[in-house]
Subunit: 316 residues, 2 copies
């Protein structure tokens, strides 16, 4: 596949997403349109398109499935924001902030159903199953992480949460792509490991950026995980090494004041927690890149390589 063909297929996904927004019933039209065209990176559709084109996918099925994974991802973001009471995402008000809880819950449900309607239309139950299982893990992971807020969370538990919450959909996108492309089980397995490791590294990198990213660029304030009591790897590592008492105090204070939050961020930054998290993310990326060696050389593999290389140290 030529690079311009990748772009062409992503363009078709974008058109399909606009079609989903235009097809939404009246009271949902505005929130659906906003969330589907708010500048997501379309990373999951891209992973699916690249994975599929290592084989010989049916183009129409692929574009529809790639749009469906973005719709599913968007549905989960909307519900996550309801759960987390998040005010903004990608520098814009969240659906729950702009329209209230009622609209946000219903919009998420609608997009969830829309995603499975599209996946069903492809006519391959394996694709539906891959995403239904990923969605199930996603809901469990989100809740497990929420329930663990403020508690002591170990590295293993953190890894378990982010595998379910973030990496599962990356993996599902790669597996569904490989399936649609008709790849061998062996190659689909390699794509699965690539997707999972990439997703874990992606989440770790996101967790780092919550401490070092620019609030304006990130669309979220620095230290928001600390403020919300969400235990991430930088926080776990910082508590092992630094002022655990202070960090614990910030985690357990609902809506901590600016001075307290900043002291907490400082307590994390004065340890090697950020470097340690980046180191672990790099190891995940090494695993991802090793798996790529099992896949056929070509432009798809090159782009998958590039995506993985850019995750660590990525900016907005």
């Amino acid at each position: 596949m030529l690079p311009e063909e990748i772009g062409e297929q992503l363009g078709a996904v974008e058109k399909t997403l606009v079609g989903v927004a235009e097809g939404a019933p009246r009271p949902l039209a505005a929130p659906v349109h906003e969330v589907l065209t708010s500048g997501g990176k379309r990373l999951r559709p891209l992973l699916m398109i690249l994975s599929a084109n290592m084989g010989e996918p049916d183009r129409e099925a692929l574009v529809s499935a790639a749009a469906a994974v973005e719709v599913l991802h968007t549905a989960t973001l909307i519900h996550d924001d309801v759960v987390d009471r998040a005010e903004s995402r990608r520098g814009r008000p969240t659906t729950v902030a702009a329209y209230g809880r009622e609209v946000a819950v219903a919009t998420g449900d609608y997009l969830f159903a829309e995603s499975f309607a599209r996946l069903a239309d492809i006519g391959d139950p394996r694709i539906v199953r891959v995403f239904a299982e990923a969605a199930r893990d996603l809901a469990s992971g989100e809740l497990e992480q929420f329930r663990a807020s403020g508690d002591e969370v170990g590295i293993e538990e953190y890894l378990r949460h982010i595998r379910m919450k973030t990496a599962g959909l990356f993996k599902a996108a790669c597996v569904a792509g490989g399936t649609l492309g008709g790849l061998s089980i062996r190659r689909i397995d390699a794509l699965a490991t690539y997707g999972q490791s990439l997703g874990v590294a992606f989440q770790m990198s996101d967790d780092v950026m919550d401490f070092v990213g620019e609030p304006g660029v990130m669309g979220k304030g620095a230290g928001s995980d600390l403020a919300e009591g969400t235990i991430t790897l930088p926080i776990i590592l910082a508590m092992q090494e630094g002022n655990a008492g202070l960090i614990r105090k910030v985690l357990r204070t609902p809506r901590p004041e600016k001075a307290l939050l900043e002291a907490g961020i400082e307590a994390v930054l004065e340890t090697r927690a950020i470097a340690g998290t980046e180191e672990r993310a790099r190891k995940e990326i090494e695993t991802a890149l090793m798996e790529l060696e099992l896949l056929p050389a070509g432009p798809e593999r090159d782009v998958l390589h590039m995506i993985a290389s850019e995750v660590v140290g990525r900016d907005a």
Copy 2:
């Protein structure tokens, strides 16, 4: 199919639902178990089982699909209760009341995904599509009804809402059953109309019971639609005929006091609104029963007939 076989298949659905609860991840185990074993009537699984057994379904696929429709139905109830801030259902605290919004949103999402994972396992994309489309309509219907709260709603709009919100899943259960049974398109169409008319009558009957039912038996207080600003057919008819000003006042008052609410209920009951709603429900049931004539005679058809006959004037 003998009556004891219907019972046997419903028993297998019940076991499957317990299995779903036992398979839920730890933080979801308690809420999932409670909602799946809280004494639902299993009407949608029953409709599917009866429809399917007019043909020759694969028993395992049927039981799994029948459990999936109940799981999907339960997921939508949980999210409806989040949207409506409902305190109790079937005489028990709702998931949102017992566990909070975070757990309720995630539990609904988990059950939604679980339902589609089961449907995918059956291996027939038509079944997934039927339920994905019903779920999409359900989310739209719930939101349209919510957005219309407090507004003037006409009968046509009310019918549109309840077709999407309630009747769609009845219809989907019948269509999926007919499909699994391998029935002809003509017979599946008859089941679709039966299911839709039954669902509309069921909702009308529910709306009547909100005025005349016993609060203890219903698990919800009398007049709750009026109190929440939800416009139902009894309310529409009462406003056409009776003290529209008073009823409108109750509808537009958030959390109306007991005296005001009781005056509103009285204003509805002193009109022919309840009788008029029951009349319309009976007409829907007549349509449903006429469609049954197009289906093969036998115990399945007899039970479908009985279910429809019992909807009007049903108790808890």
